[in-house]
C-alpha cells in the first residue's frame, strides 16, 4: 500500500481559554487518491483539523507527517502549503487582490513563477472552472457563487496535490452547486471536504468520517 498523504499521531489541541481541548490524543490518516468528507456537529473541530494540517494552528502535542515528511515548524509548513490547497469557508477572506486575474496569479507568483507563466496558469485554471472573461472583473463586485468558484481557482492555480475544502457549498445556489460537483468529480487529486450537506458529499466523496476528539470514525 502506498504512503499516506497525511498522518497525525496523538495530536492534542486546545484553543486558549477553552474549557476542554478540541483534540486529545487524536489520530488520523489520509491515503492517496482518497476523497473524504468530514462531518460532525458545529464546533467538533472540522475546520480546526484543516488548519492544523496547513500549520495555521499549532498543536500542543503530537506529530504531523505530510507526504511522508514530519512537519513541525513554520518553515516545514511553508513547503506543505505549496502542495496542499485550502479553500476557506468565506470567499472574502481568500480574495484580496483588486482584479480576478491578479488574485488567481497571486499563488503562482509566490511560487516563483515568472509573470507571463503565472498569467498563463491563471487563465488555464479559470477556463477549466468556466470563469473565462472574468480576468479584469473586480473581485468584490462578484456574486457569492462566482466568488466561491474564483477562490477555488486561486487554490487550484497553485497545482496542489491535495485539496482541503471548508464548507464549500455554503450560500451557493443550485446551479453553482452542480458546477462545483462536476469540477470536483473531474479533479484527479485527493481531497477532503468539510460539509453539512449529505447530498453534496454523496456526489463528491467516497467515504464520510465523523470528527471526534480522538479520531475520525468512518460513517
Amino acid at each position: 500500500m502506498s504512503e499516506p498523504l497525511i498522518e497525525m499521531y496523538n495530536i492534542t489541541f486546545a484553543y486558549p481559554g477553552a474549557p476542554r481541548p478540541v483534540f486529545q490524543d487524536f489520530n488520523f490518516q489520509l491515503l492517496p487518491e482518497q476523497h473524504v468528507g468530514l462531518i460532525g456537529p458545529n464546533g467538533c473541530g472540522k475546520t480546526t483539523l484543516l488548519h492544523l494540517i496547513m500549520g495555521l494552528l499549532k498543536p500542543q502535542a503530537g506529530r504531523i507527517v505530510i507526504f511522508g515528511q514530519e512537519v513541525s515548524n513554520e518553515r516545514d509548513f511553508v513547503g506543505v502549503r505549496q502542495k496542499v490547497g485550502l479553500l476557506f469557508q468565506n470567499a472574502d477572506d481568500q480574495l484580496f487582490c483588486p482584479t480576478v486575474l491578479e488574485d488567481v496569479a497571486f499563488g503562482p507568483l509566490n511560487q516563483g513563477k515568472p509573470p507571463a507563466k503565472a498569467i498563463r496558469i491563471a487563465r488555464e485554471t479559470m477556463e477549466k472552472l468556466g470563469l473565462e472573461g472574468f480576468e479584469d472583473r473586480v473581485t468584490y463586485k462578484l456574486s457569492g457563487g462566482e466568488k466561491k468558484l474564483l477562490s477555488l481557482a486561486t487554490v487550484l492555480a497553485m497545482q496542489p496535490q491535495l485539496l482541503l475544502l471548508d464548507e464549500p457549498t455554503t450560500g451557493l445556489d443550485e446551479s453553482t452547486r452542480h458546477r462545483l460537483i462536476h469540477i470536483l468529480q473531474d479533479l484527479d487529486i485527493a481531497y477532503m471536504i468539510v460539509s453539512h450537506e449529505r447530498d453534496f458529499l454523496n456526489h463528491t466523496v467516497g467515504k464520510c468520517c465523523h470528527v471526534h476528539a480522538t479520531c475520525c470514525r468512518s460513517d
Partner: protein, 256 residues
C-alpha cells in the same frame, strides 16, 4: 460612502487617458506648491490651472460642486473664526468683535488654495481608480507597505460597509430606534466595538489565506503601464508650468 464608488474614475477624456504615474507626479507637486503658496497671484494662477485640468477631465459639474461643498463646509468655519481673531487693521466692528483686513485676506487665500488643490485632485487623481492608483504608486517606487495599506483598506472597506449594514439591519428588525438616551449610545458603542472585533478577525483570516497561498512578504504586480506620447507631452507642458508657478511665488512679494 459615495466617494468609495469612484464615480469619477470612468471616462474617456484626456485626463482619464493619461498615464496615472504622470498624473500622480504632477498632482503631487502641484498640491505641495499650492499648500505653501502665500501670494494671491500664485493662488489665483493655481486656481486657473486646476480649472483647466478640470475642463480636460470633463466630469459632471454638479457632482464636482457637491464634493467641493464638503471641503468648503470646513472652510466656512475659518471664515467665522479667522477674521475675528487675526491681528490687524479692523474693517468691521460688531460690539466687542472686530474683523481684521489681514484676517479676511488670509482666509480668502486659504479658500483659494484649498479649492485649487481639491479641484486638481478631482481632475487628476479621482479620474484614476483606487486600484490603479495603488499600482501606479508602487511603480513610482513608493514604499510597498504603504501601497498595500491603501489597496487593502480599499478592498475591505466594502466588506466592512456590508458588515455594518448587516449589523444595523439586525438592530432595526428588533425595533431599535435611535434617540438621545443611554440605550442608543450604548448600542452604537456595541456596534463600533463589534465592527472592530470583526475586522480584527477578518484580518487574521485574510493573513491565513495568504499564508496558504505561499505569501512570504513580497507582492508581485502583473500590471504593465504603457507610457504614451501624450503622457510625455503632458509632463513637458505641466512641469515648466509648475516651475513658472514656483517662480511667480518666489518673485512676487508676499501679501502680508
Amino acid at each position: 460612502m459615495s466617494s468609495i464608488r469612484e464615480p469619477f474614475s470612468k471616462g474617456a477624456s484626456l485626463a482619464h487617458r493619461l498615464d496615472p504615474r504622470a498624473k500622480v507626479v504632477v498632482a503631487g507637486i502641484f498640491a505641495v506648491q499650492m499648500a505653501v503658496a502665500h501670494t494671491y497671484v500664485a493662488a489665483l494662477t493655481g486656481m486657473v490651472l486646476s480649472l483647466i485640468c478640470l475642463a480636460l477631465a470633463r466630469l459632471p459639474l454638479k457632482k464636482v460642486l457637491v464634493r467641493l461643498l464638503v471641503v468648503n463646509s470646513f472652510i466656512f468655519f475659518l471664515w467665522v473664526i479667522l477674521p475675528l481673531t487675526y491681528p490687524g487693521e479692523a474693517v468691521w466692528r460688531f460690539g466687542p468683535l472686530a474683523a481684521s483686513r489681514q484676517g479676511l485676506l488670509f482666509t480668502g487665500l486659504i479658500t483659494l488654495k484649498s479649492n485649487a488643490i481639491m479641484i486638481s485632485l478631482i481632475a487628476l487623481i479621482a479620474t484614476v481608480s483606487v486600484n490603479t492608483l495603488g499600482q501606479a504608486l508602487q511603480k513610482l517606487s513608493l514604499p510597498g507597505k504603504l501601497c498595500h495599506l491603501l489597496l487593502f483598506t480599499y478592498r475591505y472597506l466594502y466588506v466592512f460597509e456590508e458588515e455594518y449594514h448587516r449589523l444595523v439591519q439586525a438592530m432595526k428588525i428588533r425595533g431599535f430606534k435611535p434617540g438621545t438616551n443611554l440605550h442608543t449610545y450604548r448600542t452604537y458603542a456595541y456596534l463600533a466595538a463589534m465592527l472592530l472585533v470583526r475586522s480584527h478577525d477578518r484580518a487574521d483570516c485574510v493573513r491565513k489565506a495568504m499564508l496558504c497561498r505561499g505569501f512570504h512578504g513580497t507582492f508581485y504586480s502583473l500590471r504593465q503601464f504603457s507610457w504614451k506620447r501624450r503622457d510625455g507631452v503632458f509632463l513637458a507642458v505641466a512641469l515648466p508650468v509648475l516651475a513658472a508657478l514656483l517662480f511667480l511665488e518666489w518673485r512676487i512679494p508676499g501679501l502680508m
